[in-house]
């Protein structure tokens, strides 16, 4: 069997594909990469189907030993990637020889990095997906929700060298969410940090105009209470007229307002049902920024209507397809692998 061995999983490394859908009747959540765009590019740059299984490494520190030849690509949070101790570019595919050591440093911008291998990791699907959901004990290498451990063997098919591809820096998303002038939160005229587009829905009518104005006009800060389930924000409290709700389905990006008035944006591993009022949902295209934003990142919400949201989705899809078609091939049909790896 061909495989990569996990020497050190780093802070938190999980097997993910695009997520587990259609299992909500059992109470199973979606999982999947917190930064779907970066995960998609990691797969695309090694020629994979976009749903291929890859590794999501949070914060960094992942070390792997290649036990077969293949091609890899690392995308997402900015960190140092080394292959056999040599610094290599992210957003760029690299040929790997059997025996090579691959190391990810600690993220200096953003939080989640993605490592894809040509052909994808060969992980047995669990309820239709390899996505690891630790809280549920579902998915992952052993179909038990476990994070990667030292000694884990990640099965794959050995692959001949592929054409090397990359995204240019201009084509890559940015991960610097907090510019130095973001600290000036007294002025409403300065654009601060992140802007998250939101489609109003759910119980939005239970929020007064004053509460909604407060929500849209003020800045919120990402707190350390952030994980794969969701991100708790802090800022001016939002009050809601409703007392208690019957539990109901929670979609990706839903913004719930618990009794303390501090919004929580629910992400990939959210619980499927919940009873807190929700003002609407962050556009799926913007959720990755929250998952990449360290505590202290300042953000604000911008309301858009569902037609604008739908247009944004279609535009993003068209842009991805166009970039995919023009993606730079650096070293076509390399036969000697690492020697042509001119990053």
């Amino acid at each position: 069997m061909s495989y990569f061995e996990v020497i050190n999983p780093g802070v938190l490394s999980l097997i993910q594909d695009q997520g587990r859908f259609g299992q909500g009747a059992l109470g199973l959540t979606n999982g999947g990469p917190l930064d779907a765009g970066s995960a998609r590019w990691a797969n695309a740059l090694v020629g994979n189907a976009l749903n291929a299984s890859l590794i999501e490494c949070s914060i960094g520190g992942l070390q792997l030993k290649a036990r077969c030849a293949t091609t890899i690509c690392v995308t997402g949070a900015s960190l140092s990637l080394t292959i056999n101790g040599q610094e290599k570019a992210m957003w760029h595919s690299h040929s790997i020889q059997a025996g090579a050591t691959i190391e990810l440093g600690m993220a200096n911008q953003g939080l989640r990095a993605y490592l894809a291998v040509a052909g994808g990791l060969k992980i047995t699907a669990h309820f239709g997906s390899s996505a690891t959901v630790m809280r549920e004990g579902i998915g992952g290498l052993y179909q038990n929700g476990a994070k990667l451990q030292p000694g884990d063997k990640l099965p794959m098919l050995a692959s001949a060298p592929l054409p090397l591809r990359r995204l240019t820096p201009a084509q890559q998303p940015g991960f610097n969410f907090n510019h130095s002038d973001n600290r000036d939160v007294c002025s409403n005229n300065v654009r601060h940090g992140l802007s998250l587009r939101i489609v109003e829905g759910y119980q939005h009518q239970l929020f007064s105009n004053v509460a909604r104005q407060r929500f849209y006009l003020n800045h919120y800060t990402v707190t350390p209470k952030a994980d794969r389930m969701g991100v708790k924000l802090s800022g001016p409290a939002i009050s809601c007229t409703s007392q208690s709700l019957l539990s109901e389905g929670i979609c990706y990006g839903a913004v719930q307002i618990p009794p303390d008035g501090q919004p929580i944006v629910l992400l990939n591993d959210r619980q499927t049902l919940g009873g807190y009022p929700k003002i609407g949902s962050v556009l799926s295209l913007d959720c990755w920024q929250l998952a990449q934003a360290p505590a202290g990142t300042v953000l604000r919400f911008e309301q858009i209507d569902p037609q604008q949201a739908h247009n944004a989705l279609l535009l993003a899809q068209a842009r991805f397809q166009r970039l995919l078609a023009e993606v730079n091939i650096i070293a076509p049909n390399s036969r000697t692998g690492a020697n042509n790896d001119n990053s």
């Binding site: 059992l26 579902i138 539990s247 049902l273 799926s284 037609q307 949201a309 989705l313 899809q317």
Partner: protein
Amino acid sequence: MPLYRLTLASENAVMVYFEQKMAAEIAGLVQQAIPLIRQALANHLVELLPSYASLLVVFNPFSCDHFTLNTLLNGALAKLHIGQATAGRRIELPVYYSEQSGPDLALIAKTKQLTINEVIQLHQQQVYRVYAIGFAPGFAYLGEVAEQLTMPRLATPRANVPRGAVAIADRQTAVYPAVSPGGWNIIGLCPTPMFQPDNEPAMPVAVGDEVQFVAISKSEFIKLGGQLDKPLLQQSGEKP
């Protein structure tokens, strides 16, 4: 008054709301709506999350849009008829009720001025409906618990509720499918696994099914594969 209303949830999700109450006739509407929506949306449907009195419908935004979706949903839901609260299957779940397996029985009896036997009788004489599945894999919300047994959640949730714990909170009851934190009042243990990821089906119940609890003895409980995990139960109320 219309039977339902549609509300946006996100760029590719819509909520179908029925009258917001826990009631068999409302649950019947949710139950009727599931196959109607599945059929009408076909491949546009990404996820369907039914609950007490609502359905979250997630669609593929690259094959469908909100205009089309609302038309499809309204067409499908026009076929809903009130009073057709067709129940699903009737499932019996065995429970070993005792002070050993149900550490909150005594507290409930004392609070409600009942004997422990009366508490057990009241819990098992009711036929419950599976209103929703969520919170954790295999966690089924069952209702309604007899009014005399209505208990608030514990002020301090337990860090570890044992697998199989049969518990009540407000007018709801449930069997914990796995060891987890939890704040419901534990009255017994059920040996039937509520979530087995490697089995087909993974759960013994589905939304819309009826559940009746049947008291069993300690030896029957052990024979059915139940385990009495003393250290877990002894944590009662002591953990933050």
